[in-house]
Symmetry: D3
């Protein structure tokens, strides 16, 4: 269904850069499973390298938001952007990081609520209050 | 700039339903400030009542996600939905609930990263892996 | 604020195609007021002609949906697409065609409701029922 | 394909809240068919209850817009929000409420036209005319 | 999977307008293959005629942007609008017009980069610089 | 109007990382003008560094698409994503790189046309033709 070929592990042997990223993804995740997103990106080795490096930095660098919260945010953005692939993959990732059914329910409730008030604020073209502006 | 009139507190005195919601917002938030979103919704008293009731339930009911995490999710959805008003108001709300500059930076990093991979997955039309489907 | 110059009526005198469209808009609407959208499009005379011709055909040709219903649909799409200019101009147009405050309230309620369930269906990636497919 | 399990009628027997909503949907619609959206939402009983209650209120309460017009608006929003499931389900619902092929054609023509001018207004960043602002 | 019937060539024989457009598409493209988009639009003959005429004008009229550049732009918009069908069909069209794997990689890199900075500008609500405004 | 403070050149002196990026932007662009996007990002020095590095790589590395074509694609994506700031800044950037009024007109015509057919394909839920799938 993709607009590009999905690279098998065998295909990856033809390109050391692709092979290296595939290996690092597996090592980082401690899992042999490699999902289609990376197999599709393999057609563009530089994009593959850059995207994986950025994703590791943004999602795995220790910081002020814990890894599960970052996954929940990823699902929220992917839902609002309507990326079917990303909603699937990051919901699975969130579960792997411990998301409970109750957290999933609250997450979707916030997404739905925000979509509701986003639409109202846009339909009524509510002007931003002075108090919300940072100067 | 709105497509409807923004109700002043004086206007609200003409409609007991509007007056009651305005009072409950102020009591719940322990603040006299009432932002334009509610002043615009006042033109549609039923929508005002329903939206405020739903927002209280979704954002304030104790649950498995803490109030600040819910605000961060709200900002994420509002950004992806491109609701200028909502990004402003919920960024202010998140700060009021303790969002640090570091958390804000990590939040925007995740939003940007997700937007980046959402676009790639869509451009390449990556098919969902069987492993991600729930049956 | 535009990314192109807004043509005044005086500017329009320099281009017969622009002048003709401006005149036809005024004649069709029986009003001397000409809104900024057309003044911006005037920089691209062919786009101006084609867009005005298409808009007249789609919005004014007698058919099975009355003119006000078409304006309500225009507002709904413009809101979901988050076009601030279009929400403003078509809300004004709907009022000029008789939209009541009650209809406006119901319109925004449907827009908000749809945005809510759209988000839920996307977050949960609900598969389309066989019964909904046309063959 | 969903990110959550779809509840069968048998599953619903385990949860009285789910069972009650399923029964009310069938009674309200006078049909035994229950579509996947509700079977997915059943994982989150409170969301299921709230969403069904809100949908009944917004779509079925007698008002100034007739039920078919509300369905057409729902399709318009769902299309602009790109919710595949919702476009399918509400197109089926509109047909069940009497939408003719001619009305469907006019609906899609308005959706396409609005998307066209939304894009132009955004590309040219047309400033809102003073005449369109409500004060 | 469509919400309307897809017209076969045999169906088209029943409507001279549909038949004429189908024939013109084939003649213009010098190919017997006719894709589903047109078979779906055939249900709305006027929309079919208008859309094909506009598409020919916009995509095939000699101008200042070459045909391949226009296809790349079409893919960019379709990706951002998240139209799965359109991403597929215009990626195929771009390849037919000579898009190389390297161009495809650069195209997707720009799409991803723009989505990244679009999200940041929206999350931070960056005000437009005076220098960017056209007066 | 931003949700964060815009850093002046004086503010930047307090942070060597910000100062270095500001200097590199000016050197790369051979211009003293520094637009608000970077002044807003300065609040998040790592995001500032990463985004500028990525933008330079994606937009300025010699490749198969010339710099102006990349700017046109950026405008197309920013329009479809409805990023007002980005439409303004990249339209200015495209003009600085030589975009003619004729090219701008053709660009907006393609954006509008794609938005039109994107909406139709979504409204009719047209299934992807087998011929468009890459295997």
């Amino acid at each position: 269904m993709a607009t590009v070929r999905l690279w098998t592990d065998e295909d990856a042997q033809a390109d050391p850069r692709v092979q290296a990223v595939f290996a690092d993804i597996r090592a980082t995740r401690k899992s042999d499973f490699l999902n289609n997103f990376w197999r599709a990106l393999a057609n563009q080795p530089e994009q593959l390298e850059q995207t994986w490096a950025a994703l590791k930095r943004v999602m795995l660098t220790p910081g002020e938001l814990d890894p599960l919260t970052r996954e929940l945010l990823y699902i929220a953005v992917s839902t609002a952007n309507n990326c079917s692939y990303c909603v699937h993959s990051h919901t699975a990732a969130a579960r792997a990081k411990g998301m409970t059914p109750g957290q999933h329910a609250e997450l979707t409730a916030v997404i739905a609520m925000a979509s509701h008030t986003n639409a109202l604020a846009t339909a009524l073209q509510v002007p931003v209050d002075d108090a919300f502006e940072v100067r």
